[in-house]
Amino acid sequence: MDYSQFLAMKQEISLLVLFLLVFLSDTFASNRGCKTIGGLTCVLFGLFTLWGFCPVVIGSDTVTAFEGMYETSPAIVAIKNILNVGVLIVLIQSLKWTASENQVIRRGEFYELLLLTLFGMYLMMSGRHFLVFVIGLECASLPLAAMVAFNKHRYESHEAAAKYILTAVFSSAVLLMGLSFVYGLTGSLYYGHIADSMFSASTSNIVMLVVALAFVISGLGFKLSLVPFHLWTADVYQGAPTSVTSYLSVISKGSAAFAFLVILWQVFGQVYSEAWEWMLYALIILTITIGNLFAIRQQNLKRFLAFSSISQAGYIMLGIIGDNAMGEAALMFYILVYIFSNLAAFGVIGAIENNCGKVSMTDYNGLYKTNPRLAVTMMLAMFSLAGIPPFAGFFSKFFIFTSAINQGSVAIYVLVLIALINTIISLYYYLLVVKAMFIKEEDEFTVAPFRSALTERIGMWVCVAGILGLGLVSWFYDSLLSVVGF
């Protein structure tokens, strides 16, 4: 076989190399030396991220390898780079936590697992054969279970991990079941072949396919935590260590969303209007509404952000409707902005949690009086998530709505209207946080003034810069739009 085709997967390979470097240095480092692994990983990963932006990696057009099992294109590289940036921020933000005394015995495990999951996500997005996809999926979700259970001394951590692994395996079983039917009906697991054989497929087969499709969607919906496949999300987010939660909420969601887009359009694009358009509408409405309704009542901020991220996933789905480059670009842009906004929020939560272990909204009362910078960062994150101009969230929301309406039917107007009305509810609960920090008077539970670690501050600064810049500077969106296109 032709080994040069491995060159197609530059990022995967370099990621593996990076992983090996970290792994080896972790294995052979002394107990003292291993304290530097975190820093080392960050540096290496920073370089890796930069490497992702090299023209060599981006390439110019779509490249396939292994008889089309693997595919890369500027768009895919772009989404990978977006995720890399997010991962980099997560890594930087988690340095302090991993250095804390009850984590330091774990040495570099956190980073190794994290890099592995990232590798899995790469495969999910680049795979053009369901085998590759499934391997990527599992590779992305199993290590996460371990990471969720990372906090040895917190019961919640274990409960969350157990819930996660059990439901994850269940959903993957269902997904595989669906895939088996797909295979049975079309005789192939290549995306392309399945799509082709849909032309010839008879109606009854189409019906079977639709049922199978429902199984597949459920599997992906689980990763993306769409209602009704979302129930694990809140508990896991709450129980997991904050760094893991932030990773779960942005990176794995982002990758799943993109993979979802690819599969739906490249595999089932034929049966869009008859089969899954309405499924998607239903899922979107449910996801946004239920997520919002649950988020209203939450007191624990991590749980709160879990539900907010659920409804955000619903908005992301809007980008999939309407088969056009605009939608894809809007989706990627949304993910990008969402990464920055959410990570800013998690950065603040993590910083405060690491400092005094408080995650309840009432602890944030009058935060602006004690820690103005954290409060402002949090506020920016909330406004961006709520989609308030001039912050990036507004632009991503606007673009995703615009791309969705491009599809043009009356139904889509109604759908978008429902989504827009939901933004009011979401604005309500985001403002609750702002209210706690700025309007409520501080009491004895309020976080005392403290100085957060340099790494955390770097992370927040980057996020704030992103929140302010991504929208107003049109370069980001334009360049995304220039690379997309099937």
Partner: protein, 502 residues
């Protein structure tokens, strides 16, 4: 880009924001706020002169000082600016009110710095909204102007402020939800050729590609969206609570300028772009606005809280604005814009005075006050003048605006319009009732509470604010033709030929 004068209406506030961020003490903050708003006022007046000069020189484009710079090119989103008489008038209004507002909040505490930061951010949105002619940027600035209200009311407000702030923000956001859908819809029907879709108001109105069917759908969306901010019945209830809880300067800016965004948008987007639908559906909204005119006035008659009274009268007056806009003829619409100016100024004056009185007596309940004329004559006299302006005394701004509206509305000879015009006319009597009620209870008569006897009259900054506003109110009232001509130009242009407007 920076050769265009209009850009500076956004640049100056941004500079002010930066300056405020660097301020260390209250003196510097005041300095920045006052110099900045003075600069804006000067700029707007210069713009007015320049504009009139160009018109006199025979420039007959719809908009002057136009400029467009690509922003999100693939989506045809531009940073497009341009003004006509209406925008110029609105810009002057905003700058004056910002100036007086910063004087009125001279002694704001706590957190003066943050207060002014939010206030200036709000006005950035306002100015941006009035200069931009690109639907996207317009909408963006619109929302920029809305959000600061939440914190301004929540942190510096009084009374039931949490509830009011949340209610105001959510209701206005509800409006802008419809608005966003409407705008996106307009975008997709802005041109017959999908390659040349545009957000640019002028191009859209020239293309006139929005089919009637879509207009029927999009017109209500946009009109209601803006109408919520214009306090259109029944979407007005945010306004009494919001105004009542907001701090002085915020009430001034909000009632004086922000509510005008509603009326302006209703005209500039809903009616300007979809005249046919406006012509056919106007009656629905005429009923609503006609109701809100008398409705607001009637409910103002029984309130006892000064700010509630004024908020309801704002409902009534802004209702008159939308009412006149929907009459779809030159005179009435001119009157509508003049009413915007006049209401903006006099309601700002009202709220300023209420704030000053409240700052002294610490109550806004008119049953607990009385005979203030003896204690604080200056403020009392100013209040009477404001009241006279509001009940339409000739020589002050209210009269000319209302008369223009009534004469214009009366051009419709059919029974429906006649009846509603006369109903609207009735509001001038009711207005007199509640204004005189307040004046009688609050300022005249014996002193109710002897603790008030040792209160002082206005300080110099308060005098500055009120006098500035009174002068501008009187200016409109005494030389109305100047403003009328400034405004009328837009309507007399041919865009409304589609609906046979004179």
């Amino acid at each position: 880009m920076f050769s265009n004068i209009l850009i500076y209406f956004v640049v100056i506030p941004v500079i002010m924001l930066a300056g405020l961020a660097l301020c260390r003490n209250i003196k510097q903050i005041r300095a920045v706020a006052v110099t900045g708003s003075l600069a804006l006022t000067a700029l707007s007046i210069y713009l007015l002169v320049d504009y009139l000069g160009l018109r006199a020189a025979g420039h007959t484009e719809q908009m002057l000082f136009t400029g467009a710079w690509d922003w999100f090119k693939p989506l045809h989103i531009q940073l497009a600016v341009g003004v006509d008489g209406i925008s110029v008038a609105m810009l002057i209004l905003s700058s004056i009110i910002l100036l007086t507002g910063s004087f009125a909040s001279w002694k704001i505490n706590p957190l003066p710095k943050e207060f002014f930061l939010w206030l200036i951010l709000l006005s950035t949105g306002v100015f941006g909204f009035f200069i931009s002619i690109d639907l996207f940027t317009m909408f963006m600035f619109y929302e920029v102007a809305l959000i600061p209200m939440y914190l301004l009311i929540g942190v510096w407000g009084s009374g039931n402020k949490n509830y009011s702030a949340m209610k105001l923000t959510l209701m206005l956001m509800g409006g802008s939800a419809f608005l966003m859908l409407g705008l996106i819809g307009i975008y997709y029907h802005s041109s017959a050729n999908p390659e040349t879709l545009t957000w640019n108001l002028l191009e859209i109105s020239q293309n006139g590609a929005i089919s009637k069917g879509w207009q029927y759908f999009l017109f209500p969306m946009t009109f209601v969206g803006f109408g919520v901010l214009g306090a259109m019945f029944p979407f007005h209830t945010w306004s009494p609570d919001g105004h009542a809880s907001a701090p002085t300067a915020v009430s001034m800016l909000h009632a004086g300028v922000l509510m005008k965004l509603g009326g302006y948008g209703c005209f500039r987007v809903a009616i300007y772009l979809m005249p046919e639908a406006a012509n056919d559906l106007a009656w629905i909204f005429l009923i609503l606005t006609g109701i809100s005119v008398v409705y607001g006035a009637f409910s103002a008659c029984v309130q006892t809280d000064l700010k509630y009274i004024n908020a309801y009268s704002s409902v009534s007056h802004c209702g008159l604005v939308l009412f006149a806009i929907l009459m779809l003829n030159t005179t009435a619409m001119t009157g509508a814009i003049m009413q915007m100016l006049s209401h903006g100024l006099m309601t700002a004056l009202f709220f300023a005075l209420i704030g000053m009185i409240y700052g002294r007596t610490h109550t806004r309940d008119i049953t607990k006050m009385g005979g203030l004329m003896k204690i604080m004559p200056f403020l009392a006299v100013c209040y009477v003048i404001a009241g006279m302006a509001s009940l339409g005394l000739p020589g002050l701004s209210g009269f000319v605006a209302e008369m223009t509206i009534f004469v214009g509305s009366f051009e419709h000879a059919d029974m429906f319009h006649r009846v509603f015009t006369i109903v609207a006319c009735c509001s001038i009597v009711i207005t007199a009732v509640y204004i005189l009620r307040v004046v009688g209870k609050l300022l005249l008569g014996p002193v109710q509470d002897e603790h008030h006897l040792k209160l002082t009259d206005a300080e110099w900054w308060e005098r500055t604010a009120t006098v500035t506003l009174i002068i501008s109110v009187a200016a409109i009232g005494c030389f109305p033709n100047f403003f009328a001509d400034l405004i009328r130009w837009t309507f007399s242009s041919d865009i409304f030929s589609v609906i046979g407007m004179n």
